[in-house]
């Protein structure tokens, strides 16, 4: 009994560190000290073995035994549960930020605005020649040439359009930071 008590007392400083030794979490010096003690102490070796066995039981009891659903399935489920506003705003903000960073998107945006302006130009009533009575005949009256200037909202990028029905001419200027205010003639300045 005394001998047993002595063994327990001797092993006490090592028992509290057995788990950390098993987990390889002790500093190098202490790890070696434990190696040395365990090589000479069957009692502590037995406890270490019991810790190891229990760890396996806990993993089996609480580990994820069945197949985890594929992450693609999980992602679709998660994405569809995100609040619409959060998803939409994030996507829109991301898209706008991408456009602000890349010159090609700036030009693409400017081109889209040009198309909108041209469509407006051609569809607008005030661009159509109006026939007005003049004596016994009617005369086609052309409006003044139209000049429009649009700020795109993209830094350094703006659009200017000149249109004249009379001359059958439309000129579009695209201004970006790269061109330093110079004009970029469109492929055809007369027929758009």
């Amino acid at each position: 009994m005394n001998r047993e008590r002595q063994d327990i007392d001797r092993c006490e400083p090592f028992r509290s560190r057995l788990g950390a030794w098993l987990d390889r979490e002790l500093p190098a010096g202490e790890q070696r000290e434990m190696d040395s003690h365990l090589s000479a102490c069957p009692g502590c070796r037995k406890v270490a073995e019991e810790y190891r066995t229990m760890a396996g039981w806990v993993r089996r009891s609480r580990g994820l035994e069945s197949v985890v659903p594929p992450v693609e399935v999980f992602w679709q489920r998660l994405w569809s549960s995100l609040p619409e506003r959060k998803k939409g705003w994030g996507f829109l903000r991301q898209t706008l930020q991408q456009w602000a960073r890349q010159p090609r998107y700036q030009l693409a945006l400017a081109g889209a605005i040009v198309l909108v302006i041209l469509a407006t130009v051609f569809l607008s009533d005030r661009r159509a020649a109006v026939e007005v009575p003049s004596g016994d005949a009617t005369v086609a009256v052309d409006y003044e040439p139209m000049v429009e200037s649009i700020e795109t909202g993209v830094p350094g990028a703006s659009v200017m359009v000149y249109h004249s029905e009379k001359e059958n001419l439309t000129v579009v200027w695209l201004f970006t930071e790269n061109t330093s205010g110079g004009s970029l003639p469109t492929p055809s300045e007369r027929h758009i």
């Binding site: 979490e25 580990g63 994820l64 069945s66 985890v68 999980f74 998660l78 549960s81 959060k86 991301q94």
Partner: protein, 199 residues
């Protein structure tokens, strides 16, 4: 102080993705989900013990992370922060389930047959005595784990099931490494005392 914060953030390998998430980059969020999905599933499962519940817990955890990413200070790593969210979600889920159905939870603890490992079924047919023995032992292990305090249970699961380091466990549990060490020691000794006849 600011320099230390910057240094801590740059050591976190997820920092670039987290920053993109803050700006609403859903692609960055998807990458983080793919990276941590399985780990979070194992963490949640180790607490709630049902796959379908674990899926819900992990989904709620990622949702909460997505909605709170702007508030993430960067004091800990992103993975630690995510672990804490998912563990808290799992604990809340379990408490709610216990409140809703306390009676069935007790019967689960008393005579629970652990979820069947599909691969084990043929072995059970071949060696029913061994299968019954294993089943009884697993039920006993489950009871012993439930008897541990939440801190001791959490420490032992993060170590034995997740394989996390003491430093990682300390960050998740918000304590020192020395505290993790003593919690694990206590948990292991408590389990050893209760499972003596099986060892």
């Amino acid at each position: 102080m600011k320099a230390k914060k910057e240094k801590d953030r740059s050591r976190d390998e997820d920092f670039p993705l987290v920053e993109r998430c803050r700006q609403g980059d859903s692609e960055a969020f998807e990458l983080l989900v793919r990276k941590y999905y399985e780990r979070m599933m194992r963490t949640a499962y180790s607490v709630v013990r049902r796959q379908e519940d674990a899926l819900d817990v992990v989904q709620n955890g990622f949702l909460k992370a997505y909605q709170s990413i702007a508030k993430f200070s960067g004091k800990s790593s992103f993975s630690t922060w995510l672990y804490r969210i998912v563990i808290n979600q799992a604990i809340d889920w379990k408490r709610k389930a216990a409140r809703q159905d306390a009676a069935s939870l007790h019967s689960d603890l008393d005579g629970k047959v652990p979820q069947v490992d599909q691969g084990a079924l043929p072995q059970a047919l071949e060696n029913p005595r061994q299968a019954a023995f294993d089943s009884e032992r697993e039920a006993r292990v489950e009871q012993c784990l439930e008897h541990l305090s939440p801190e001791h249970q959490q420490a032992i699961l993060l170590r034995e099931v997740q394989g996390l380091s003491y430093q990682e466990i300390a960050e998740i549990m918000g304590c020192r490494v020395g505290t993790v060490m003593s919690r694990l020691y206590y948990a292991r000794e408590a389990l050893r005392a209760r499972l003596k006849e099986w060892l």
